[in-house]
Symmetry: C2
């Protein structure tokens, strides 16, 4: 019984290492992709979120990025200064702004998106069609679990 538990833990250890290392690799892949551009990782992430979901208010964007609106104000200011973003007044609620991508921002977004596409092609190539399908199905399943918080306590 004891031995069985130990073996179980060892496997979890192994899994943990696999996850951590994979995560680190993805991180540095992302880092290296971004460092070829004129924007930082955090800035690219912002661009990505707006590119994916369209223009939105500061508040919403801050929540999606997981930063305070204070942080976001500064980031958006800098990106707008460098012509990646545009800010539009909301006429309905004049406290609010909409943040959207400029043409330059869109170009950056598409370029980055393209890189991701490449990465995924590489993954499919590595795992093969059948296993890729399983793999991404697992990712989706886990993501749902992470959303509803199964993995949080």
């Amino acid at each position: 019984m004891e031995r069985k538990q130990q073996k179980h833990d060892e496997r979890l250890e192994e899994y943990s290492r696999a996850l951590t290392e994979f995560f680190d690799r993805l991180n540095s892949w992302e880092q290296s992709v971004v460092s070829d551009t004129g924007v930082s990782l955090a800035q690219m992430h912002l661009i990505e979120v707006i590119g994916n979901r369209g223009r939105m208010r500061m508040k919403e964007l801050a929540q999606l990025l997981g930063v305070t609106t204070g942080t976001l104000t500064v980031m958006v200011h800098r990106l707008a200064e460098r012509d990646y973003l545009i800010r539009l007044k909301d006429e309905q609620d004049r406290r609010s702004y909409f943040v959207d991508l400029s043409e330059k921002g869109k170009a950056e977004y598409h370029h980055h998106h393209h890189m991701h596409f490449h990465l995924v092609e590489g993954i499919v190539h590595t795992l093969g069609e059948r296993e890729s399908e399983q793999f991404f199905a697992h990712l989706k399943k886990l993501q749902d679990a992470l959303i509803i918080g199964v993995l949080n306590e």
Copy 2:
């Protein structure tokens, strides 16, 4: 033929989104775990690397973390000041130092490791034994591919 290609691309799009979102979730999970402690994400990562691989010289650590030695000097200085790390002179090569975890650093490392363990338990719980095995096997396979650079061009 054309339609088939389009369908293929759509699937890759879907995979790309799944990967990105999973990655983001993991990121915020890590962020929330770390924010309960006294150290930053980058600092925790440093502690983790030393905890996993034992004491090492600045140069080596910088390479593993993907930062310059200049950056590392400052980080190590701060963590040593706050008693998470100790620095040891290398008597063989007196230009070098070894960086190692203090007792406090070890405690922090074990705590964080424990959190990872929990996360992995959650994953296994979500996917089930059999599918977990597949999933982590896929991660390992991809990691190897990322190392040798299949996914880099």
